[in-house]
Symmetry: D2
Subunit: 417 residues, 4 copies
């Protein structure tokens, strides 16, 4: 309901809009809009690939997705009076797909997608096990969704922005670039890479032009990782009703937002694991003066999650420990333990007729929970993953009669490397 301060026209490309957004982090990207503390406003958001992924039955688009162009962010929004050292309060008042556009070429126009990215073009959590590109299309019906590529499931979306944050200061940006370059230097040829350095190609920097554009493009940080400013945190609980507190590093805070998700499992495990969509987000901003010192919050977001998500009473859970598939014992490695728990869940679901890729895509998109269960019991971390049983239209828990078999349908479209 709030005033639309940042419109996007669905018939035009992200770079041809009234306000041109950005796809890099830099303190010198000019604010597109200025708001005051207490203001409520609507922001249109483009899906992260600006329409490169289509509502069809091929994974070619995922195979060749233009990774240097992401994420299409709306903003920056300058907040009057916000100064470094403050905390920026951001209330997520509402969020949804593209209003009143029930079909169209853009994700968010009545549909969304989940992708498994090929190892040499993005990769993902389990890329060693899933090296090729796959895709699933999800159709929206109100707040619920189904997929022709993954039959037998239906669930309510817990919509959230995958990416939101404030602009880094010049110092903070330098810190990012330095530490990530140092990591890349340890294995520069790795596929997928260890990190993504600044990339002027395909950079979009708001209203910047000319030499200033070139300077900023050469310095600006990529948007893939979450960092001190929030960023691509992919926190599935940042739903409607959430209040987030971001550190302010530059005058005006310069808030940006993008990468809306219709739904996501904890971890967003398939890289493009959420159900990606464009749409709108209604925000309210406010400022806690000197909040970073008052509360000792100098980096990363603190937040009060919303309380409108669906509640599930029954879950089927899987556990994993930090032993590799080859049997090597690792030391307290929760990343590995979570990988093993997810693989257990995937293997389990194949007993019901799903392909491994369908199961993987489902775990990325459905509202599963991924938990740190034990992180101190040397040498094994224990991670657990919880799947709400109500999303399946068949019984999913183990019984003496064995698993039912569903018709997996046409399956998830695949394109090999």
């Amino acid at each position: 309901m709030p005033e639309l301060l940042y419109p996007l026209d669905s018939s035009k490309r992200f770079t041809d809009q009234k306000f041109v957004g950005h796809n890099r982090w830099h303190p010198d990207i000019p604010a597109a809009v200025t708001v005051r503390p207490g203001d409520e406003f609507r922001v249109h958001v483009r899906e992260w690939f600006d329409g490169a992924i289509h509502n069809d039955d091929s994974a070619d688009d995922v195979r060749n997705a233009p990774l240097s162009s992401v994420h299409c962010l709306s903003g920056p929004f300058a907040v009057e009076g916000a100064e470094p050292g403050d905390l920026l309060i951001v209330d997520i008042l509402d969020i949804g797909p593209v209003p009143q556009e029930d079909s169209g070429p853009l994700a968010g126009q009545g549909w969304g997608y989940t992708g498994i990215f090929a190892t040499d073009n993005g990769g993902g959590f389990l890329t060693e096990h899933f090296p090729d590109a796959y895709k699933a299309i999800w159709d929206f019906s109100g707040h619920t969704t189904t997929s022709r590529h993954i039959p037998g499931v239906k669930f309510t979306g817990i919509m959230h922005p995958g990416l939101m944050g404030t602009a880094p200061s010049a110092d903070l940006l330098s810190t990012w670039n330095a530490r990530e370059a140092a990591l890349i230097a340890t294995d520069p040829e790795r596929v997928p890479p260890l990190a993504l350095p600044p990339e002027p190609r395909d950079a979009i920097l708001g209203s910047l032009t000319g030499p200033e554009f070139d300077r900023v493009a050469a310095e600006a940080a990529r948007t893939a990782p979450p960092r001190e400013n929030g960023g691509n945190q992919d926190i599935k609980n940042l739903t409607r009703g959430s209040r987030v507190f971001y550190p302010v590093f530059v005058d005006g805070a310069k808030l940006s937002v993008g990468d809306l998700h219709f739904s996501q499992g904890d971890g967003e495990i398939t890289f493009c694991g959420a159900i990606e969509m464009g749409g709108f987000i209604d925000l309210r901003v406010d400022v806690i003066k000197n909040g970073m010192q008052l509360y000792g919050v100098t980096e990363n977001a603190v937040f009060l999650p919303g309380n409108e998500g669906p509640v599930y009473s029954e879950w089927l859970a899987f556990s994993g420990t930090s032993v590799t598939l080859d049997g090597e014992q690792r030391y307290l490695d929760s990343q590995l333990a979570f990988e093993r728990a997810c693989l257990h869940a995937i293997d389990y679901l194949t007993n019901f007729g799903y392909s491994r890729e369908q199961a993987y895509l489902l775990l990325g998109a459905a509202p599963i929970e991924g938990r740190f269960s034990g992180v101190v019991d040397i040498p094994n971390s224990c991670a657990t993953v919880y799947i709400p049983t109500a999303i399946f239209d068949f019984p999913i828990a183990p019984t003496a009669s064995g698993p039912v078999r569903i018709d997996p349908g046409i399956g998830a479209p695949r394109t090999a490397r």
Copy 2:
């Protein structure tokens, strides 16, 4: 209500009971009790240190805790007809502290404890930041608890067994010992160690005696880590009403249980992070013949968590990424990201008057949730930790007026290394 098949006398040591339990994993530890599929029965469980930790205001007992003696497990329980390849169904019917013993020297007799263990005697998740031993005592009142060492909080316990599992086969045991030895060999002098090898000293092996005791004691695996048989998973959601499916590796399955927790946060981050207690657990067992193949569950527990835990509507959450405190960028390391999120939460709580150790102990014991939020956004994993705001008797969310200050009381007892 079910028949008490495994009694413990609170006035006697763990080794002086009618049934002597065990504190190592080995296929040849004889079953203490045999039950049939469908049976319901009560099991008494001793707290993991058999009374070495006291209800007092000193951390000396934690400083010197006898780690080679843990965990005091009840069992094994042989289940008639269970064979390798089956899945063992274990229903947790009920669980609680020591019934009708409201005070006494054993944790579980109306009280429990949480400990931060010294780096050279156990360590813990954040041992680099908390090298000394600390302790908090929690008093039970029905299903709620408070601590004189951490004022201002009160919460409902979500009681669960930290450790439950089936006996490994001889092959599986060999695999464990081999892979853990290989890890230890990479840094044999490390403090705390990378893993714990078999340790005959302080081994308790049920009814075994003589040369058989010595053989088994030399081979048997330590109980600290979770492994393929379940074990010390510290899954805080294994509450009353849960149904767990364990792989069966030996005839009779040989189920054992121990390490009861009155409450725990996801991760059990202070090593002895839960509120430790002895007490009882009521179980029902059943068997899915050939279940390991039917459902592809060949390792680690699958489970349906109980639905009786308290529901919280409001949470304060913290996020962290895989950058070290020194600013080094690590690659998709969720263990580190969770560490950073927990440190953020600890730092935050100190603004209200808590010491860092009080905050750390609280996060281990209270029903916090630890989530994998982003595990694919190279190079930064994002982890989040959620604290229910209702456990505090003062407002805990950031506001423009700044944090209230509480009286931290006597604080958590400390004993330096």
Copy 3:
């Protein structure tokens, strides 16, 4: 997102729209729109008084509200193939206030209202105790709301249609008119009346005109009561995600909807107790052929409520029994028991500084739960009312230190009879 099949222009009166709705029930009101089973579509809905209640600080509009003009319903929607004996499935896909109109003269344009109606113009549940007209205005911010007339509270709306249903058959309509006339005849002069007979004045009957209009206006049932066709059930749990099954009494089912509420307490106790608004509702319809017989559902709605409402973990509850305020013992009268429980809650809230009218208005509008607790313990029914404590920004439970006192602000506007 679905296609807008039933638009309303906020700048025009309800009777000047492309489709003119209706405010009476009759089988012969022509369908405005025809849809097919499986169709999803958006419907605009006008607030029940078509703008007669204003966003101001006077209750004059409530005092003089045009009760003969309600409820402004959108529809009827004919569903192809639906026949008497079928069940009509209605999925509530989404619902909200007037999109993108953040301010304006109509409830639903960024605000809503709750009213206590005067005894001689509407009355209400506690009209003997509250004979005068009062009003509270609620401002919307995303899915939350606050009121300048009731300070100290904020809550998340659980939006729902207060009124939805299918058209009655001619026989059913006759039954209604006969039984309600018989009731009125027992005390025809009562104020407020026992029921409302057909009223041609102010009748709106879709596209009907001329003699047919006059015939139908003389026969058509008022929309105030819930009846066999659903109707004004005021079920606060018919939120987004709900699936409702309505009996079909006429060809095409002829579904109509209206009386949207931003929030409501169980019972809608102040008559106009919900937060009234206009807005939109997205529906999906389907048909179960012969469903009335298949499931024995021949009257009143059966439904699966949505699962997106906020979850509250803490409630303060009040109880009442079927003894009148004068001390007269009634026999198992849950209506009275609920009245007494509500009065207890109102009295309680005045200890914190609220006026009785503020408390009454709050109980109508906030997501309170009203329960039948005991209906068999002769002679006293027991009813209970539950208030979520989190909606208050001050502590509301009894403690030894007594209630805090808030500033009740300007209070609720009043207009005496």
Copy 4:
């Protein structure tokens, strides 16, 4: 865990115990035990009929149940320092069936019962439709229960005391007796009666004897109805973790408790609708001095319900209005509307194979919710009843394929009038 202050021996009758309880309300029944504010203690509680109902397949015991002997209450407990005008805080720390007695002749020893009482011996909510006596036995397994008399359902108990309260003052008792006598006088021969007058026969009055016994027995109020002192409120949400505030009418407050339920639906609609059991309850008491005036709570309990009950995400709901089965329109009668909603639910369940009596017994015992939905829409109240779908092991919602048919088994034992 707290000290057992009020033991009962399962092998002895209620009147042969160390402490003899009571089954009437009177200020002069002497306190059995005195406790202090802050004390925690365990109380044993006998099932309300002291063993008259058996674990068998006949309803003869229900047919002939000794109604003049109920309810067997434990207490009174005097609280030091509590005076008229105070509020008594009662925390329900824990509650359960008879510990460690898994089988036996008393309800609570591993089993419980639900009964439909014959019209001329108790009656019930729907006694006009169910005039004969029926019974269902429920077997307990941990916190879940199943019934051989109602197959296809399983649910988690939300255990609670059906009856708890403080002693009335002499004045309050007189008020009760006067107003109930006045009601009885309006139709003294009614079956079932409108209310129950004092009944010396079968009175149990603690330690009273001789003339004092006779005097008190002649005056003391029956325990069936809930009244100003709390009493038989049958509030199913008074579960573990609840805090109740009772008005204090006599020195010491004289708290009593009984009528434990393993589970109950809102309304306890079959009269003996809950799953009746004996067992234990752990309480903590405290006093708010002058609390009745401080908070304006002079009658009926105020309470904070516990938050440990199971959460259900999916419900099937039924609605009803205040029109009689004969088609007579009543004015805003929620008791009738709830009756109609319950009848709709019962009729619905018979489509799946249940008998009407099985359905009725189930609605009394399972954790259904009964809500006041609309109480102001003249002339029809609207009431709704919600059944959690997860309690059935077959799909219960309407679909195009029609209802599945279950085997109703042996059915519910019946004994005709």
